[in-house]
Amino acid sequence: MMNEKVSALADGEIEGQEATNELALMLSDKAAMQAWRDYQRIGDAMRGSANLNDAFTARLMLAIEQEPTVLAPNAMPRTLHSTSAKETAVEKNHTVQKIQDRLPAVWSIAASCAAVLMVGWVLLNQQLQDFSSGQSVQVAARAVQQADPTKLVTSPAEAPAVPLEYLAAHHVSAPSVGSYYIQAASYSE
């Protein structure tokens, strides 16, 4: 009963893969195409739509035939269903397999990210603790020593008392590697 399916298709009452299959069959079935035309016309007549004569439709279709064929198969996103039930099942299995194959890699990546985050967190905490405990003085001591190697600073007690504000203000122009530590440890708002 092809025409009964045409009737249901015209009402949008067939969905998914079945709709795709039935539409494909319909396009090559003259009787089904005629039924489609008739059912559309019946609905329009019942709703009082003015008629466009058959000559108009024939002219229009001739004009469409003369147009260059449109080929844009990827213009719209794919529908949720494949072109056949078999392909749907195969696609699903393939997709599931792909996901399963990627799982070990996914876990590895997740573990790596977690490790990086953990190390970063530890370092940050360490730097914050250093800052709060005044060990920036030691950093300052190292900076002073690098600037003037002749000066040997052996203990925090011997390190000159350099105000943190001074360090923060001058860290940009500090020439040595020590400026990195100054920048990280002392700059805070």
Partner: protein
């Protein structure tokens, strides 16, 4: 309206569809009949129709012009009716409808499915009509600010003021009369089913609820009603084989 006098046989309430000016109860249907108008309800079946349109568009985008032809068959009269609000002359309406469909076909690669196909088509139609009127140095006879959503909620054809050619006017009248006579002569259950579908725009599920029968029965009844009407209509429309597309 053709079938409205039969609606009072349906002893149930129909649900309110948001944003559509139609609330149906048994009594209100009678009032609508008295006013001579019957507003079509936009029903949940729109989703299924939209999916079918998407399928046809995709087939057309892959090079199958017959699929586009099915969309032409489905929307040519609706588009014509929409544009008749802007253009009076029937011959000019046909020209604009034809140009609109050709533009739509050329623009198919640009259709991404973000909106319903008919919404997209109607926008093309309205723009084509506007351009046509401007190029002819005319202003549209009515406001062109037609809400696309209203395109599916047109009132019946009595309010149209198109200047039909004698041929189309006669054909329209004959078709309407043939369909009307065929529907009236249908068995009650077939007539009710086809009316709820075509006039009220209800889904099969909604019709099944109203008629208290399975959805499969609704589908069968609507199909049988259409086949019965088509049998009477086809001799009127019968065109030679070589003139069919």
């Amino acid at each position: 309206m053709i079938i409205s006098q039969k609606l009072d046989e349906i002893p149930v309430k129909l649900t309110l569809v948001p944003n559509v000016a139609a609330v149906y109860t048994h009594g209100l249907v009678e009032n609508i009949e008295e006013s001579g108008k019957l507003t079509q309800v936009t029903a949940s079946q729109a989703t299924g129709t939209r999916e079918i349109d998407y399928e046809l568009v995709q087939l057309a985008q892959r090079g199958d012009k017959r699929a586009f032809g099915m969309l032409v068959e489905k929307y040519q009269r609706k588009l014509s009716r929409l544009l008749s609000r802007m253009i009076r002359d029937q011959a000019e309406i046909e020209d604009v409808v034809q140009e609109s469909f050709i533009k739509a076909y050329r623009a198919l690669p640009n259709f991404r499915g973000d909106s319903a196909f008919y919404t997209w088509l109607y926008r093309i139609g309205i723009n084509t009509a506007k351009n046509y009127l401007v190029s002819a140095g005319r202003r549209p006879s009515v406001s062109t600010d037609i809400e696309i959503e209203d395109a599916e909620n047109f009132e019946d054809g009595n309010e149209l003021r198109t200047m039909d050619t004698p041929e189309t006017a006669l054909m329209t009248k004959q078709i309407a009369q043939t369909v009307n006579d065929a529907v009236v002569s249908l068995p009650d259950e077939l007539r009710t089913a086809i009316t709820l579908r075509e006039i009220e725009g209800l889904s099969y599920e909604e019709i099944a609820t109203i008629m208290q029968c399975p959805i499969g029965t609704v589908r069968s009844r609507i199909f049988r009603a259409r086949e019965t009407i088509a049998l009477k209509l086809r001799p009127l429309l019968d065109t030679p084989e070589h003139k069919r597309w």
